[in-house]
């Protein structure tokens, strides 16, 4: 009842007015400084001698616009590679992260293999792995070995990204307080059940932002499979470029990648907020 009746006092109204005026002032300053900044940028870039050539080669958007259908068609292959790789990476990375936290001497070989795998594939350049797997493996002519560049590309990306993501998961698992484990074990849950139902769910929530980081990175790195001869969006742009030697085709492909990653970022932010993971970001101080 007080909530509806309450009116701010005279003093509080002057405080609120002060806060509003400060907020207005901040807005104004932001607006002004942005205008000055953009103005200076346009002026200095626009008047520089090389600008007309840059614009013609990089920003002839009427030309770039015509690429759009072709590029988007080629993008489908990147999206396929990305989605399939992501599923494999999540599964394998989770397994390796859990293996690395196993205790007891019996598991030493498993722990050792998992650690060695992570150390090696985190250190190898992705391009090298793509060459080794994508070109080296078919050259062996092993019976039953895959020879489709698509499959080989997915394997190479999975090998590299699993190593990264396993470390992200492991950091998450280790950040869960030991008291959580103690509570779960005290209820009679096994080590495995504790992992599955108590530790891992909390770990995943904490590492969602870095996990997303790795997936955005993966999204971009799908373009590297073009070295195996897969006609993806980058190779398509390269074909266009070789016809008129203008770089706007690459700019368009780049824009498509950026546009693709932004919604993903916003989505995780939204998920995090909805679950109330305020962390130290919440509150007035």
């Amino acid at each position: 009842m007080t909530a509806t009746q309450w009116q701010p006092s005279e003093l509080q109204r002057t405080r609120d007015a002060y806060r509003r005026s400060r907020a207005r002032r901040s807005w104004l300053i932001a607006l002004l400084s942005s205008a000055v900044f953009v103005g200076a940028l346009v002026l200095s870039v626009g008047t520089s001698p090389g600008w007309p050539r840059v614009r013609e080669s990089f920003f002839d958007l009427s030309l770039g616009w015509q690429d759009l259908p072709g590029l988007l068609r080629a993008l489908w292959i990147n999206v396929q590679i990305m989605l399939i790789t992501e599923v494999f990476v999540l599964v394998f990375a989770a397994i390796i992260a859990v293996v690395r936290t196993l205790q007891g001497p019996v598991f030493f070989p498993l722990r050792f293999v998992a650690a060695a795998y992570v150390d090696i594939f985190r250190g190898l350049p992705l391009l090298l792995v793509l060459y080794l797997v994508g070109l080296g493996l078919p050259a062996l002519r092993l019976h039953g070995a895959p020879d489709s560049p698509f499959v080989l590309g997915v394997i190479a990306l999975t090998l590299t990204y699993t190593a990264y993501v396993a470390e992200v998961f492991r950091a998450g698992i280790e950040s869960v307080h030991p008291s959580q484990r103690a509570a779960a074990r005290s209820l009679g849950l096994t080590h495995g059940q504790t992992m599955r139902h108590v530790v891992f769910p909390q770990a995943v929530r904490r590492v969602l932002p870095p996990l997303l980081n790795d997936f955005v990175s993966l999204q971009k790195d799908t373009s590297l499979v073009s070295v195996l001869g897969i006609i993806d969006i980058v190779l398509t742009a390269e074909n266009y470029q070789s016809q008129d030697f203008k770089f706007v085709h690459y700019v368009m492909a780049g824009l498509i990648f950026v546009v693709m990653t932004v919604p993903l970022t916003r989505l995780t932010d939204w998920v995090a907020r909805r679950q109330g993971w305020q962390g130290s970001g919440g509150g007035v101080v």
């Binding site: 007080t2 909530a3 309450w6 006092s9 003093l11 509080q12 405080r15 806060r19 007035v284």
Partner: protein, 255 residues
């Protein structure tokens, strides 16, 4: 605690304080005076607004309305430098809130070094002296999680005291402690009181409240429903709500 203190200008004076979170109004039209060198104890049921009041006094919450005067300055005003005010008011939390990645000594030295710009040598000797005062100089190099709850809380008190605050706020500082550890913390607060520190203490320890308080305030429905010297509040409470609350405390065996 006798006569003249009520005549002295209060160090802290709260008038018409209001604080709500969304639709729930936690404090409304709350008045409180805390004279210098006295101890005010806040009692009341869980959710009666004790913690919120303390957080408002340390500017950890933005108040909806009302005046909070510290040393004659309205600190609820958005124009004041909140960090400067906070460094004059110490608060100790129920859950200690020590920084787990710092040693005990570094916990105590952090604010002197970074806020008050005390030189390392000076800050360290101040911190060691303060730890000695709370009886923990041998734990200076330990990490907070190596200490018992009572020791951690004493470190938290040292961390607040080392900044020489004008006013100390204690937010149910013994509620998370084992009964045998409560004593060491309360003893420390008693000593502070006899040193003349101005304090506002929210607590469920009624025996302690009775002993250490100059005035007791019973919070109910977001305001100070009844206040007075402990003998009056505990001996002859006027308000039915106060009597009810104290009866429940007695029934729970805590008075």
């Amino acid at each position: 605690m006798s006569v003249p203190q009520t005549l002295a200008a209060p160090l802290l004076s709260v008038r018409g304080l209001r604080k709500s979170f969304g639709k729930s109004v936690v404090l409304t039209d709350l008045d409180l005076d805390v004279p210098e060198h006295t101890c005010t104890v806040l009692i009341g049921a869980s959710g009666s607004g004790k913690s919120t009041l303390l957080r408002c006094l340390n500017l950890l919450e933005v108040v909806d309305d009302g005046v909070v005067e510290l040393d004659g300055q309205d600190i609820a005003d958005p124009r004041v430098d909140a960090n400067a005010i906070r460094s004059k008011v110490g608060i100790v939390f129920q859950a200690f809130n020590l920084f787990p990645h710092l040693s005990v000594l570094d916990n105590v030295m952090l604010a002197p070094r970074r806020v008050h710009r005390v030189r390392r040598q000076q800050a360290e000797s101040d911190a060691v002296a303060m730890l000695e005062r709370v009886g923990l100089s041998d734990k200076a190099r330990a990490r907070p999680d190596e200490l018992s709850g009572g020791q951690q809380q004493r470190v938290a008190i040292a961390r607040a005291l080392v900044n020489r605050p004008r006013l100390m706020l204690f937010d149910e500082v013994t509620s998370a402690l084992d009964p045998e550890l409560v004593g060491e913390v309360l003893t420390l607060i008693r000593e502070l009181k006899s040193d003349g520190m101005t304090m506002v203490v929210a607590t469920h320890e009624m025996g302690f409240a009775r002993e250490v308080a100059d005035q007791v305030c019973f919070l109910d429905g977001g305001r100070v429903l009844e206040q007075g010297p402990p003998a009056q509040i505990f001996g002859a409470p006027q308000e039915p709500r106060t009597r009810q609350f104290l009866a429940r405390i007695v029934a729970a065996g805590r008075l």
